[in-house]
Every structure is written in C-alpha cells, then in structure tokens.
C-alpha cells in the first residue's frame, strides 16, 4: 500500500482571521433571526404564505445543499468503488463537505418545518408514496453513514493522543481502547457504509427531483417534467467534482497551500462528459415536450432558464473541453464556480422560480430573515470546515510520505 503524496494532517494555522470574524458576525446574525423564528413562528421572519409554502430555506438550504454536497458520494464512488487511488487526496475534504453540508440540510429542515419538535416522526410514521418521505429517510440514513465514514478521522486524530483534563485523565486508557476497537471494527465494515452512501445518495438526489413533480401545473413547464428525478441525479453527479474543485481551490488559497492541480485537472476533465450528459437530457426533454416555445416569452422564467442553461452548463462545458482551462487554476476555478452556481440556480429555479401557484397575489421573494439564516448557515459551514481542517487530519500536504493511509479504503476488502 503506497499512497504517494497522501498525507492528511491537521494544519497548524491560527483559527481567527479577519475573514473568520466576518463569518462569525454573519452566523450570529442568523442566530438572532432563528431565535425570532422559534419564538414567534415562521410568519415572523419569512415571506412564506399559503400560496408559497416553500421558499429560500427549502430551495437553497435543503435542495441546493443536498446537491452541492454531492461531492461526497461522487468522490467516494470514484476513490473507493472504482478504486482510483490517485484521487484519495480529495476524498477527505469532500467527505467533510458532505458531512457538514448534510448536517446543515438537516438544520435547514429543522428550522423550516412548523413543528420542529416532531422532526423524528418520519422515522416511525411512514408513507411509501411520498417523495419527501423517501428524501427524508435517505437523508437521515445518509447523514448517519457520513458520520460513520467520518469517524476514522476522529479516531485517527485521537488514538494515542487521548489526554482528558483533570480527574477524567484516569479514563484516558479506556477511551483510547474504545477508539482503537472502534477503528478496527470500522475498518472491517467501512465498505458497507461506503456503498450504502452511494446508493442512498443516488436515491435521494433523484427523489429530490420527484418532490416537485406532484405540484403538476403549478410548476412552470420549462422545469416541470416527469424526468425531473433523472435531471436532478445527473446534475448532482455533474456538480460533485466542480464542488470539490471549487472548495479545494478556495481552501488552498485561504489556508495558503499549493493547489493540487494534478488531481483537480483530472477531475475537471471528467466534468465535461458528465455535464454533457446532463445537458443532453435537459435539451432532449425540452424538445420532446416542446417547451422551447416558452423561451420566446420574455419573463422571469424564460430569463432564469436561459441563464441557468447558458452560464451554468453550456459555457463551463465549452471551457472544460479546453486543456488550457484544465491546467489554469483561475480558469478551472471559474468553470467550476459556474457549474456550482448553475446547479444552485437550477435548484432555486425548480423550487422557487418555477413554482407559480394559482391565487398568488404577488410572487415570492425571500425576506431579510430568510436570507440572513441562509447566509448564516453557509458562514457556519465554512467556519466548521476551517475548524476541522485545522484540527483534524483532512487536508493532505503534498510531498511528505504517508504516515497513516486512509484505512477504511483498504482494510475492509484486503
């Protein structure tokens, strides 16, 4: 077993920087609005009403959140299932993003549902016909799977370094033993969870698309199609690597690391066919259902659809076909950002723009409170990412020999 250059280590950095303080302020702002939401109800902070029951929180925090956390399962499929070890360096950051992403998806759901204290109800009250039930159950299980997948990183960080303060120090040995036991058990069974994670992701990424199918004519025909689940799955797969590239380049910038272009360029090269496949289905669906006629009407829907397709898919697709783009960090970052923004916009379009209910007097636009909470959640996510990257072995530093390989990729099937 020789993972060249793979060396995930805790980065020795100061946690607080001016940027981090800004993020903290944004997060605190969200906390204020969340307090209002829990004290006075959804009506106090959101622009939701009986016509627009779902808004920014479902569209961005949940739907887009799930899509943008897709890097977790695409890299897991690439690195573990296909066993392409050259990508091992991006697996942990992607896993961390997915874990944090899904955690905040769960938070998003928690604050959005009216009776948050009943969030556990779907676990025992089942409705097999409901797409939302499937999404909910899959997300809950997948979240558990992600935490399990993340556990080895915790054990790796603490094995042999357990140092509890004061009186608890007597427990040091026992905790260490438990961690070692856990580590051994996990490394034998990890493959089960990895495959389960990919299957669960495939299921709920597509079912997220099924969600809006039942809205029928209330959804603009440019987006409403029976193949929505397929489009959601394809776009989630297509956005997985761009998201990894996007994060990796931001992280290396903010943590002062050398961008891992040798991996990212290869990932970038894989984006084009995935994006192309998504575009083919999207355009094909548009022509089969003859919905292109709606593009001639100049309104929000047609503009948003055009922007989504042109800037989110067509332009990055063209860019990624060029070797120059794949080799340049700046251009690759631009292309990846466009794809990420395109998928984000697609989810916003599907859940908010396309939803045109009857009897609505004015169309929905998120309230300050909703935007604050969404922005705050993103800020918290970034802060947590930074925290884990600094204190846990997530990011691989190039050039050093492997001290501890990612065991769970290896041991189970050896």
């Amino acid at each position: 077993m020789n993972h060249e250059g793979l060396n995930p280590v805790p980065l020795k950095r100061k946690f607080f920087t001016p940027g981090v303080i800004v993020l903290c302020i944004l997060a605190l702002n969200a906390v204020v609005f969340l307090a209002i939401r829990f004290l006075f109800g959804l009506g106090a902070v959101t622009n939701l009403n009986d016509q627009y029951p779902w808004g920014l929180w479902i569209g961005v925090d949940v739907a887009a959140g799930v899509a943008l956390a897709a890097g977790g399962f695409t890299t897991a499929a690439l690195g573990h299932v296909m066993h392409r070890e050259e990508y091992a360096a991006v697996i942990r950051p992607a896993l961390l993003t997915a874990m944090l992403g899904y955690t905040f998806v769960a938070f998003g759901v928690f604050v959005d549902i009216g009776r948050w204290y009943y969030i556990w109800h779907p676990l025992i009250m089942w409705n097999g016909n409901s797409a939302l039930f499937e999404v909910g159950i899959c997300v809950i299980i997948y979240l558990a799977v992600l935490y399990i997948e993340f556990l080895p990183i915790i054990t790796e960080r603490f094995i042999g370094k357990v140092n509890l303060p004061g009186i608890l120090s007597k427990l040091n040995k026992i905790v260490d033993k438990i961690l070692r036991l856990l580590d051994r058990g996990l490394s034998k069974t990890m493959f089960i969870f990895i495959i389960a994670g990919v299957v669960l992701s495939t299921l709920h990424q597509s079912s997220l698309g099924t969600l809006m199918v039942i809205a029928g004519a209330k959804m603009h025909p440019l987006w409403q199609t029976p193949i929505l689940p397929l489009l959601f799955l394809l776009s989630a797969i297509a956005v997985g690597f761009p998201m990894v590239i996007f994060e990796s380049l931001i992280a290396s910038r903010s943590l002062n690391l050398k961008p891992e272009m040798h991996i990212l360029s290869k990932l970038g090269a894989m984006m084009a066919p995935l994006l192309g496949l998504y575009l083919a289905f999207k355009i094909g669906d548009m022509f089969i259902r003859e919905t292109f006629v709606y593009l001639t009407e100049p309104n929000t829907a047609s503009v948003m659809f055009t922007v989504e397709i042109l800037f989110g898919v067509v332009i990055p697709l063209r860019m990624l076909l060029s070797q120059r783009v794949l080799r340049s960090p700046a251009l690759l970052f631009t292309a990846a950002t466009l794809v990420v923004a395109g998928v984000l916009l697609n989810r916003i379009n599907n859940f908010i723009v396309a939803y045109t209910p009857p009897y609505a007097i004015e169309s929905y636009f998120p309230a300050i409170g909703e935007i604050s909470v969404t922005v705050g959640f993103v800020a918290m996510l970034v802060l947590l990412y930074r925290f884990f990257a600094i204190y846990f072995p997530i990011v691989s530093l190039p050039g050093k020999p492997a001290t501890q390989a990612a065991k769970y990729t290896v041991k189970g099937v050896k």
């Binding site: 004290l39 006075f40 109800g41 959804l42 009506g43 106090a44 939701l48 009403n49 009986d50 016509q51 029951p53 779902w54 573990h80 299932v81 296909m82 066993h83 070890e85 549902i113 009216g114 009776r115 009943y118 969030i119 109800h121 779907p122 009250m125 089942w126 409705n127 097999g128 016909n129 409901s130 797409a131 939302l132 039930f133 499937e134 909910g136 034998k188 069974t189 493959f191 089960i192 495959i195 389960a196 990919v198 299957v199 495939t202 299921l203 099924t210 969600l211 809006m212 199918v213 039942i214 029928g216 004519a217 209330k218 029976p226 689940p229 939803y355 009857p358 189970g412 099937v413 050896k414």
Partner: protein, 302 residues
C-alpha cells in the same frame, strides 16, 4: 487473505440484502389509508342557485370552533368585492364573479377542499398524516403533522393552509368535510345551513347523475361541464356553473390524478427495493473487482 475478505463481503452483503427485504415488506404497507369507496359521499355545488349569503362561512366556523361572530354580520356583501382564499380562520369562503349566461345576477362560488378521489396531499404527506376515508372525506391527523407544508405544494387546488404566526403547534388547516359531524349522522355544517340548498349532499355517483340531468334539462342555464367529475381523476365535491370555470377562479386541470406521475416514479425507484438493492450489489461487485485488479497488479510487481 483475499478469500477471507471475500467471504466477509458476501456475508455482509447477504445480511444487508435480508435487512432491505425486511424493510421493503413492511414499507409496502406503510402508506396511509386511501379508500376509494364506490359509496363515497360528495357535495354538488350549484353556483347558479347559490345566492352568496355566506351562511356556510358562519356555519363552518361555528362547527369547527373558530370565532364566527353574528350570523347577521355575514349579510354585509362588501367583502365579496375582493377575492378571498380559505385560511386558518375560515375553512370555506364565498367569492363573487360577474354574471354568467343565464341571468344578470352575479355568480357566487364557494371555495373549500375538493376532497379529491386521488388526493395529492395523501400521497405527498411525509408522515402519512392525510387519509382518504370511506365516506370520501380527506382528513388528517394533527398529531402526526410535522408542519413541512408539502401538502400545500402538492395540492392542485391550493387548499391546505398553515398557521404561520404560531410558534408552537402551528397547524395545517382545511375543510375536513365535517368528518366529526357526518360520523354522527349529521350533515356537513355548510350543507345543513344553506338556505337555497345550493349544496346537495349525497352519494357522489348519484350527484353526478343529478348534475347531468340538470344540464340536460336546462341547457340555457348551465355550461356543459361538471367541474370535479373528471378533474385530477375526480373529486368528491362537484360544481355546476353558468359560465366557464376558469372565469370562476377554478384552476385549469387535466384528468390525470395529481399524484399519478410522482407515485409511479416513486414506485419505479422503489419497486420492492429491487432497484436500490441491485445498485448496491452492482457497486459492491465493482468495488470488489477494482480492488482485486489492483491487488493482482501489485502482486505482479512483486
């Protein structure tokens, strides 16, 4: 070594397979009650008869324990100048539209849950709180509701409403077809109070015949369309009118049940857990093969 791990792998896969099968057999039953009884009841709303007295609004509030006020205060017709929608304080409302073809009187239309034969809310509800009962009513179990509002997204008539202003125990509300009253053999409150019997309560099958008969006998009075007979696969509440239903605030809907497409997708993806299980097996196989190839490559190197 490889042999051992292969056995491990197969064992674990078998275990998971068994788990999934167990899950699927229980999940097949895990759908809410959704009865389409041939004897289900319905209401025929004849908008050419309705006088817009709004007594039904009062009776509905009175029957559901909502603040109703004086019945006399409902004689104020000023409120009909605006188009209203049901909300948590009023589960049914009357809207008034310009006259139809047969009379110069305005057309009054009662709005409430249509009690679909194939309800989208029943299909959509994440916890299966909604049920379609034998008597045709679509009701819901408040105790289960988590307040996700997916029923509001799903409903083709935009009927369920939500108490956005409540921090604790906000509820989904809509017309429940007076399920508690009909259980006791009483009529729905709105049907009971209607002075002109614009609302006829009876078996839905019979109401369709009555509606057809009215159109046949008075072709000048009615347009030839029973709203709810075929819309979204049929609804328990049926409407007759003297002008096009699109001009009376009704959405234009096809004949396919609202949950049809999404349910077939759901059942396609989840058909007895075969597709997810096969995907699991496929990925497991791929993982094992790629692993094996890697190992062989390394053995060769050595």
């Amino acid at each position: 070594m490889p042999g051992k791990s292969r056995r491990d792998f197969l064992k674990s896969s078998a275990l998971i397979g068994a788990g999934i099968t167990g899950l699927s057999s229980s999940s097949a039953k895990a759908t809410p009650k959704n009865i389409l009884s041939p004897d289900r009841m319905g209401v025929l709303v004849d908008t050419t008869v309705c006088v817009g007295c709004r007594n039904c609004e009062w009776a509905c509030k009175d029957a559901h324990g909502l603040p109703a006020g004086d019945l006399e205060s409902y004689e104020n017709r000023k409120i009909l100048e605006q188009k209203r929608r049901p909300d948590p304080s009023a589960l049914t409302v009357i809207n008034e539209y310009s006259p139809g073809k047969y009379s110069n009187l305005p057309v009054d239309v009662k709005v409430q849950c249509m009690h679909c034969d194939h309800p989208a809310c029943v299909s959509a509800c994440i916890v299966g709180a909604f049920t379609k009962e034998e008597n045709g009513s679509v009701i819901w179990d408040t105790g289960k509701c988590i307040g996700c509002r997916y029923c509001m997204v799903a409903c083709p008539f935009q009927i369920p409403t939500f108490e956005y202003d409540k921090a604790i125990n906000p509820l989904i509300t809509k017309c429940d077809f007076c399920f508690d009253r009909t259980k006791e053999g009483k009529l729905p409150a709105c049907v009971d109070i209607c002075p002109v019997e614009a609302l006829t309560y009876g078996p839905r099958m019979e109401l369709v015949m009555i509606a057809r008969d009215r159109i046949r006998r008075n072709p000048d009075r009615y347009i030839n369309h029973i709203f709810g007979e075929a819309e979204v696969g049929g609804t328990s509440w049926l409407y007759l009118a003297s002008k096009d239903f699109n001009d009376l605030g009704f959405p234009e809907l096809g004949k396919d049940p609202a949950p049809g497409v999404s349910e077939s997708i759901q059942h396609g993806i989840f058909a007895y857990f075969v597709p997810p299980a096969s995907l699991y097996a496929l990925l497991g196989g791929m993982m094992w093969l790629s692993k094996r190839r890697k190992e062989l490559e390394q053995e060769e190197k050595i």
